[in-house]
């Protein structure tokens, strides 16, 4: 048996943990830099605020409808997400965090007559009591079906109390007939259109034998796997959560459009340093570095390409901020054009290998002092919680400055910001 646990409106729910006065009120959370709406409470959804809307477009509407706005507070969301995952581990050792607010659970070895519905309600109650995060839980024989069950639990909170188990053939078919094809795990916008023109409108249609060839043609083996999953035959297992990422990317829009090389260099160097830091955190090194640069499409728009990128491979695998930053800057020099205006840049590191499988090179090797220096920097940053030590080509003033005009305190990760409780 699998389960999918999904936190309801996760970011909005996190904001409510330390501000219960927000319960029942419409609230929205903005993305980095206060750009777009990325989370809405049920009340804000009911008022018709669309997901992903740019803040400036709906600013007036938010004000008129008395909807409260928050900047994203990732230290808080990250801490609460970890707590959710750890609490779930108290119910089964097999937990696969799927995203910040979702996890797949596996219950191999549980008896067949085990009361999963009751177990789900216990999970839900515990997460609510300990950290005030509401969740929906779907149980089924496969991962794809547990997603379907989860949707039903979320959609019908009064009937399901937030937990739904698909454990009979009858329930499975009913659930699939209810599920729109675009809500099936892995069916995106493009596939939805293709499916609909063929007459596949629900998850149930997807499993009908007459469409098998069509699905095979357009989705390949992935489609057939999904079909089996929906039929209740489990083919997808839990991913090993300890498996490290195959590439790490930091890409950001600039706060203002940039044309000056030094200013862009500063950003790229900072992104490279953050990539290196993430590599060190997962104890790995990278072989290759990609720098991408995107032109401002509104400037001198002659229809020419706006996306530029290049890759460089290091002579030795590295996770040193100095090495990766230097390589990134040398790539930037190749893709940058004088007189152009850019809106976005990114650094991607790939060819990732574990730190301890690093190959020795006969003639070229990283200065061993880097390793020690990086250790000291990481330790210091872990202690202060901020990236205070920077490379020479990073600007000391230009911090990771995000527009965060509606930010709530870091209640759980910074002692200086813990909640104050009145004794009056």
């Amino acid at each position: 048996m699998y389960a999918l646990v999904d936190c309801n409106n996760f970011y909005a729910s996190c904001e409510r943990v330390f501000q219960p006065q927000l319960n029942g009120k419409p609230i929205v959370i903005l993305s980095n830099n206060d750009g777009c709406i990325i989370s809405r409470s049920d009340e804000a959804k009911a008022l018709g605020i669309p997901m992903g809307a740019p803040e400036f477009q709906v600013r007036q509407e938010l004000k008129e409808k008395n909807i409260l706005v928050f900047s994203s507070n990732y230290p808080l969301y990250g801490d609460l997400s970890n707590r959710v995952m750890k609490i779930l581990e108290g119910f089964t050792p097999h937990v696969e965090p799927y995203s910040i607010d979702e996890a797949f659970l596996n219950f191999d070895g549980f008896k067949s007559d085990f009361d999963f519905n009751d177990y789900g309600l216990q999970m839900k109650r515990r997460i609510m009591k300990w950290i005030s995060i509401p969740v929906s839980i779907g149980f089924a024989e496969t991962k794809a079906l547990s997603k379907v069950a989860n949707k039903i639990a979320r959609k019908f909170p009064n009937q399901t109390k937030g937990v739904y188990v698909i454990d009979t053939e009858e329930k499975r078919i009913k659930a699939l007939k209810w599920t729109k094809i675009e809500d099936v795990w892995g069916i995106g916008f493009r596939l939805k259109k293709k499916m609909k023109t063929k007459g596949i409108n629900t998850a149930y249609d997807f499993t009908l034998p007459q469409y098998e060839n069509f699905i095979k043609t357009i989705m390949g083996v992935t489609g057939l796997r999904l079909k089996s999953e929906l039929e209740g035959k489990s083919v997808l297992t839990l991913d090993d959560p300890t498996e490290d990422k195959k590439s790490i990317a930091i890409t950001r829009m600039f706060k203002t459009k940039l044309s000056n090389f030094d200013e862009i260099k500063e950003r790229v160097s900072t992104f490279a340093a953050v990539c290196a830091e993430k590599l060190r955190k997962q104890h790995s090194c990278c072989h290759s570095i990609i720098v991408m640069l995107i032109k401002d499409k509104h400037h001198k728009n002659d229809g020419s390409r706006i996306y530029f990128s290049q890759m460089e491979t290091l002579p030795f695998a590295s996770n040193s901020s100095l090495t990766i930053s230097n390589a990134a800057i040398s790539i930037l020099k190749k893709v940058y054009q004088e007189g152009e205006r850019y809106s976005k840049a990114g650094v991607i590191v790939t060819g990732i290998i574990p730190e301890n499988q690093k190959q020795f090179h006969l003639f070229e090797e990283e200065n061993p002092k880097h390793l020690k220096l990086m250790k000291v920097i990481d330790k210091f940053h872990a202690k202060t919680g901020e990236r205070k030590i920077r490379l020479g080509n990073q600007d000391l003033q230009h911090t990771w400055k995000m527009k965060q005009e509606h930010l709530s305190p870091k209640y759980t990760t910074d002692f200086k910001e813990i909640i104050k409780v009145k004794c009056r």
Binding site: T412, I418, I419, V421, K422
Partner: protein
């Protein structure tokens, strides 16, 4: 013609050697009589936090609980997994505000009791919205 591969060396992993306990500087002779008593160092976290997943910290703001040893500015350890009951000190959310009080249960109502004669008990009636947010288990203060 096949090109001969370059020689590759592997760097030994000196990072992940297991940490062995270090028993002083004695190389030979009589072993340290203290060695048998070496163990973990004291961790306040372990003492003060029974369930770290449900534990949060808060700062006291005011003097209504000084009788219970909670002074203005003290840090409170709050365990949300504990059940509220009579006589426990709790962080409560009542009528739009957080407050710390001692819970007193009567036959048909609940009181939130201050521990300072200058403050009045709060009687919780059906008209109030009360959430017992968590139970205060320890108070950390600087002296």
């Amino acid at each position: 013609m096949q090109v001969k591969k370059k020689l590759s060396f592997f760097v030994p992993d000196s990072e992940n050697t297991p940490e062995l306990p270090f028993f002083g500087g004695i190389k030979a002779g009589f072993p340290s009589p203290a060695a048998d008593f070496e163990g973990d160092t004291i961790s306040l976290d372990k003492v003060l936090v029974k369930n770290h997943l449900a534990t949060f910290y808060a700062k006291a703001d005011g003097t209504s609980m000084i009788g219970a040893g909670i002074d203005d500015g003290d840090i409170m350890v709050i365990d949300r997994s504990l059940e509220p009951s009579d006589n426990k000190i709790a962080v409560c959310y009542i009528d739009g505000e957080f407050t710390v009080k001692r819970i007193k249960t009567e036959k048909d109502c609940i009181y939130l009791m201050p521990e300072n004669a200058d403050f009045q008990p709060i009687k919780v009636t059906e008209d109030n919205e009360l959430i017992v947010w968590g139970i205060v288990t320890y108070v950390i203060k600087s002296v």
